[in-house]
């Protein structure tokens, strides 16, 4: 078993490396006189936002971030499904997933320009994209399995920046202290993921522990802002604990089950300046109806449900309320 995993990982890394040699970095900010914000800051912030919105394994979230020098609101959401499928005559199963992902960020902060003026910036980013995943699931025993998979995603990032307090020349040639910049970037991301999942039953209750690691490569191309002609690697680690049990509710002959969960997500590659946080902690509860259908007679769709979670971290408060499909 471990030989197979060991042989599979270099293939994953090789595939990631193939996507890694596309775009060269060009640094030329479209906003002069703001050297306190480097091109690197802009890139890191954009990549961090896209990654925290589109990385596999992240659930929806609405976040308020307050730090000493910035105040931002972020949400992310995804509509998708993933499932394992049996590959007969092999011990391993297949794994696939498809998702539409989206997110938005409004970030307000002040800086001092090179000319000594106080400048207020209101940056709004919106991203929408699609993601497909394909991989394998290796059951080590009844309780424990490893699931490596590769995800490919494309997304479009729109950034609207309102700059207040810095004299710039508008397109008509007149100087203005209130300027709006509207830029777009197309992003392609490749993510290699390894999930380790342990589960055990205690009578009618089930405990599930999951640890996940993502290695993500993002390539960004922008015709509007050369700073966003860039690429970046980043890593995410996740730990999830979920405990579920059956209820007395039955609909159409099938059970409802309650669950409580705790998640911790650590964005290993981002510094705090990018989004105001590098990790999130979530605790929540939900209920699921085990409808147990088999679409196209191909894969099992066990349940649909709703969940509510509270998200917290240093400088972050938020929540997660949404639908689940397992």
């Amino acid at each position: 078993m471990f030989c197979i995993v060991r042989n599979f990982l270099p293939v994953l890394l090789l595939l990631l490396a193939v996507f890694a040699n596309v775009t060269s970095v060009q640094a030329a900010s479209i906003v002069p006189d703001l050297s306190t914000i480097s091109d690197s800051d802009i890139r890191n912030s954009a990549i961090a936002f896209v990654s925290t919105s589109t990385t596999p394994g992240l659930s929806g979230a609405v976040l308020d971030v307050n730090t000493d020098n910035q105040d931002s609101k972020q949400w992310r959401s995804s509509l998708g499904f993933s499932a394992e499928f049996t590959i007969r005559k092999h011990i391993f199963n297949g794994y696939w997933g498809l998702a539409i992902v989206g997110g938005s960020l409004e970030n307000m902060f002040s800086v001092i320009s090179d000319t000594g003026d106080q400048v207020k910036l209101d940056v709004t980013r919106d991203v929408v994209g699609v993601r497909g995943s394909l991989g394998l699931s290796f059951p080590i025993n009844q309780h424990f399995k490893l699931r490596p998979f590769l995800s490919l995603g494309v997304s479009n990032l729109r950034t609207v920046t309102i700059i207040d307090g810095l004299t710039l020349t508008d397109p008509s040639g007149n100087p203005s202290t209130l300027t709006t910049l509207d830029t777009r970037a197309d992003m392609a991301s490749t993510t290699g993921t390894v999930d380790a999942i342990y589960s055990r039953w205690f009578n009618d209750n089930r405990l599930e522990l999951m640890a996940g690691y993502n290695l993500n490569y993002t390539d960004s191309i922008s015709g509007d802002d050369s700073v966003l002609n860039t690429n970046a690697w980043n890593q995410t680690a996740m730990i999830k604990v979920r405990y579920s049990g059956k209820t007395n509710l039955v609909t159409d002959g099938r059970l409802w089950r309650w669950n409580v969960y705790v998640d911790h997500t650590k964005f290993l590659s981002f510094d705090k300046a990018s989004l105001g946080y590098t990790g999130l902690f979530e605790i929540g509860t939900g209920i699921e109806w085990h409808m147990n259908i088999k679409p196209l007679n191909w894969f099992g769709w066990q349940s649909v449900g709703i969940n509510f979670g509270v998200i917290t971290s240093r400088n972050v408060e938020g929540y997660n309320f949404g639908l689940t499909a397992r």
Binding site: M1, Q142, R254, N292, I293, L296
Partner: protein, 127 residues
């Protein structure tokens, strides 16, 4: 042009994947499909198979769930009804495998109902 090709491929995949009604040997038989190999029926060992016609009445099957460290030989005993389809799969339940009554709901999906746990799953270590 490209859109036509995509639509053609999507339609072909969808139509090819439609849920078909089960075909029974005759009105007095049941049918079972399994995602894992069936190795024994009513105490008689058979070559690994994934689909079987069953006599109605009580049947006992042994089905193997393979993992990289152990094999689980799960024994199911239940009363099979005539013209009824059954399916055995892994669903992250208490036992490695679960037996369901399989019902075609429409051309897009089937439903797994009335789960039955195995009587026991004996563990065999892999060498």
């Amino acid at each position: 042009m490209n859109m036509r090709i995509i639509l053609f491929i999507s339609s072909s995949l969808l139509l090819g994947s439609c849920v078909q009604a089960p075909i029974f040997k005759d009105a007095d038989h049941a049918l079972i499909t399994s995602n894992y190999p069936i190795i024994s029926i009513n105490g008689v060992g058979i070559e690994d198979t994934y689909k079987l016609d069953l006599d109605t009445g009580e049947n006992t099957l042994v089905i193997v769930y393979h993992t990289y460290s152990k094999d689980y030989h799960c024994t199911f005993t239940w009363t099979a009804e005539a013209a009824t389809a059954y399916e055995v799969t892994d669903q992250e339940n208490r036992y490695p495998l679960t037996l369901y009554r399989w019902i075609r709901k429409n051309s897009l999906w089937a439903v797994r109902l009335n789960p039955i746990d195995p009587l026991a799953c004996s563990i065999v270590s892999r060498e």
